[in-house]
C-alpha cells in the first residue's frame, strides 16, 4: 500500500514539474503573444494542479493531515486560469498587438468589421 502511495506521489509531482518545464520552453520558443499565452496558461495550469494533487496525497497518506485548502487551490486554479488567459489575450488584441505573419485565420477581425459596418448603417 505504501509503495503504491509513494509511486503515485512521485508520479504526480514529476509529471507536474515536467509540464511546468515544457510550458516554459513553449513560452520562450513560440513566435507570438497568442500562442505563448496558450502554452503558458494551459500547460502550467495542468502541471501545477498535478503538483498540488501530489502534495495533497503526501500530506493525507503519509502524515494523516487532510488539507482542504489544497483542494480549494486546485479548484481555484482550474477556474481562473482560462479566464485570465482569455482576458489578457483579448486585451492584447484590442491594444493592437500583431498576429504572427504566418497565421492564417483571424475571425475576430471580420467580426469587428461586421460590427462597425452595421453601426455605420444605423
Amino acid at each position: 500500500m505504501s509503495v503504491i502511495i509513494d509511486f503515485l506521489i512521485g508520479f504526480f509531482i514529476l509529471v507536474g514539474s515536467l509540464f511546468c518545464l515544457i510550458a516554459t520552453i513553449g513560452v520562450i520558443r513560440l513566435p507570438d503573444v497568442y500562442t505563448r499565452n496558450h502554452a503558458a496558461s494551459k500547460a502550467a495550469t495542468l502541471g501545477v494542479m498535478s503538483i498540488l494533487l501530489g502534495t495533497f496525497l503526501y500530506f493525507y497518506a503519509l502524515e494523516g493531515h487532510f488539507n482542504s485548502r489544497l483542494i480549494l487551490g486546485i479548484i481555484f486554479l482550474f477556474m481562473t486560469s482560462p479566464i485570465s488567459g482569455h482576458l489578457i489575450n483579448r486585451a492584447a488584441y484590442n491594444s493592437g498587438v500583431k498576429l504572427w505573419d504566418k497565421s492564417v485565420r483571424d475571425d475576430l477581425k471580420e467580426y469587428n468589421k461586421k460590427i462597425v459596418n452595421k453601426s455605420s448603417v444605423d
Binding site: 514529476l14 518545464l21 513560452v27 485570465s84 492584447a92 491594444s95
Partner: protein, 94 residues
C-alpha cells in the same frame, strides 16, 4: 526515492521560473510580460507546495490560495489597464 523526486521537481520549477524571467525582460510587448508574470505566480504556487513537503510542515499551505488569488487579480487588473487605460472607472455624468 521520494526525496530525490521532490528535489528534481524543485530544480525543474526553478529552471522554468528562470526562463519566464527571461521572457519578462525580453518580451516585445506588454502582454508578453503580463503573461510571463502570471505564469511566474502560478509557478510560485508549485514551489510553495514542494517546499512545504521538503520542510514537512503544513504551515505554508494556506499561502497557496493567497498567491493564486493575488496572481489572478493582478492579471485582471493588467488586462483592464491594457484595454482601457484605467483600472477603476468612474462614471461622471454631471
Amino acid at each position: 526515492m521520494i526525496e530525490i523526486i521532490i528535489r528534481l521537481a524543485l530544480l525543474f520549477c526553478s529552471i522554468s521560473m528562470l526562463g519566464l524571467i527571461y521572457r519578462v525582460i525580453k518580451g516585445p510587448s506588454v502582454a508578453d510580460r503580463v503573461i510571463a508574470l502570471d505564469a511566474i505566480g502560478v509557478n510560485l504556487v508549485a514551489i510553495t507546495a514542494l517546499i512545504s513537503i521538503v520542510l514537512s510542515s503544513h504551515a505554508f499551505l494556506e499561502i497557496i490560495l493567497l498567491i493564486g488569488i493575488l496572481a489572478f487579480i493582478g492579471t485582471v487588473a493588467f488586462a483592464k489597464y491594457l484595454e482601457k487605460g484605467v483600472i477603476i472607472e468612474r462614471e461622471r455624468n454631471h
